[in-house]
Symmetry: C2
Subunit: 194 residues, 2 copies
C-alpha cells in the first residue's frame, strides 16, 4: 500500500535494536482516517473470503481491527487479552506468546464464548516480525475449531522469519507494507516491491 | 442512552465484588456497529465543544475512542499507556492511577509529542467508578497545558464517587448509562433516570 509506505518513510523512526516506531499514527496516536483507508484495503485483499469475525490482540491491534470490521459489514471484533494471572480458567482458550520487544512470555487468552467452530476469522495485527503473536492467535482459533480465513498485517518485517513461516504453512497472509531492511544510523527504510 | 441500557440489561453479567461484565460487546468482543452508535451519541452530547483530539487509555478505551473520533471529523486519538517500567523518561507526561480491578497502581504515560497546550481534548473511557483513571487522564492534559473540553463515559457506576467528584470539579461529564445499583444475587441492574 503505497500511501502507507510513504507515511512510514515520513513519520516512522528507526531505532537501535531493530525497532520501528510509528507512534504518530498507529501505536500511540492513531490517525483515524488513515486507519479507515487501511481497513478498506484489507477488505479489498480478503474480499473472496467469507469472514464473520475479526480477531486481534490488545492493545495496538484494536483500533485497526475495529476500523477494518466496518468494511466487512460491521462484523464483531474479538481481542485476545494478555493475562495478568497464570491462573487460567476452564472457560478460556489459552496460548503462550514470546514477546521480542518486552523480552518475556505472555499468557494470551480468549473466552470460549467468543470463538467457536463456526467462526471464519480474519486475524489483524499491527506488526509481524518473528510471528509469535500471530501463531498464538492461529493456535487460539484452532483450539476453538474455527477457520483462519486470512491474516492482515499493517507492517511486516520481511527480513524476519514470521511472514515466511506463516505463508509456508498455507495461510493467506497480506501485509500492507513489507520492510526488507532498515538502518538506524541513517534512518533509511527499504520496502519490498510486490 | 436507552439502547445501551437495554444492551447492558440483556448482555451484562453482574458478578460478586461490584463487577459488571460487558464482554459481549465492549471489553472482549466488540460490537462495532453499536460502538458507532455510541460515537454518534458522544458527538451529539459534546457538539458545542471544539474538539481537536480524543484521549483514552489502553486497552478497552481504544475501540470506543476510534469510533467516536469518526463523528468529530476524524480527529486523532491518543491512547495513554500503562507503563511496564518505572523508568519514566523526560519526553513523557506521567501520572499514577490506582486500579481497583487489579488492586495495583499503574504508571500511565503519554508522549509529550502527542499532547500540547493547543489541544482541546475529549476524554473517552469505557467505565467510570472511583474516577482514578479519568483523574489521571485529566492530570496528563493539564501537565501538557491543554484543555479538557469534556469527558465521555460509556458506563458510570453512579453509586461510586468518581462521577460526583469530576462534575463538582466543573468538568462536562456525560455517561451514556449510569448505574444506580446492581445486585449480583438476582442480577438486577437499576439505571439512573436522567
Amino acid at each position: 500500500m503505497k500511501a502507507l509506505e510513504e507515511k512510514i518513510k515520513k513519520e516512522g523512526i528507526v531505532k537501535k535494536g531493530n525497532v520501528l516506531k510509528v507512534d504518530s499514527f498507529l501505536n500511540h496516536q492513531i490517525d483515524v482516517s488513515f486507519l479507515d483507508k487501511m481497513g478498506d484495503e484489507f477488505q479489498r485483499l480478503f474480499q473472496e473470503h467469507k469472514i464473520n469475525k475479526i480477531l486481534t490482540i490488545e492493545a495496538s491491534g484494536i483500533g485497526i481491527a475495529v476500523m477494518t470490521a466496518r468494511h466487512f459489514g460491521d462484523v464483531p471484533v474479538v481481542f485476545a487479552k494478555k493475562s495478568k494471572t497464570s491462573n487460567i480458567s476452564d472457560d478460556l482458550y489459552h496460548t503462550r506468546v514470546d514477546s521480542y520487544t518486552h523480552q518475556k512470555t505472555n499468557d494470551v487468552v480468549v473466552s470460549k464464548q467468543y470463538l467457536n467452530k463456526n467462526d471464519h476469522i480474519l486475524i489483524i495485527d499491527d506488526f509481524l516480525a518473528n510471528g509469535c503473536a500471530i501463531l498464538g492467535l492461529i493456535d487460539l482459533v484452532k483450539q476453538a475449531g474455527g477457520t483462519v480465513e486470512g491474516i492482515g498485517i499493517v507492517i511486516e518485517k520481511g527480513y524476519q522469519a514470521g511472514g515466511r513461516k506463516i505463508r509456508e504453512a498455507g495461510y493467506h497472509l497480506e501485509s500492507l507494507a513489507i520492510i526488507d531492511s532498515m538502518d538506524d544510523e541513517c534512518g533509511q527504510i527499504t520496502f519490498r516491491q510486490v
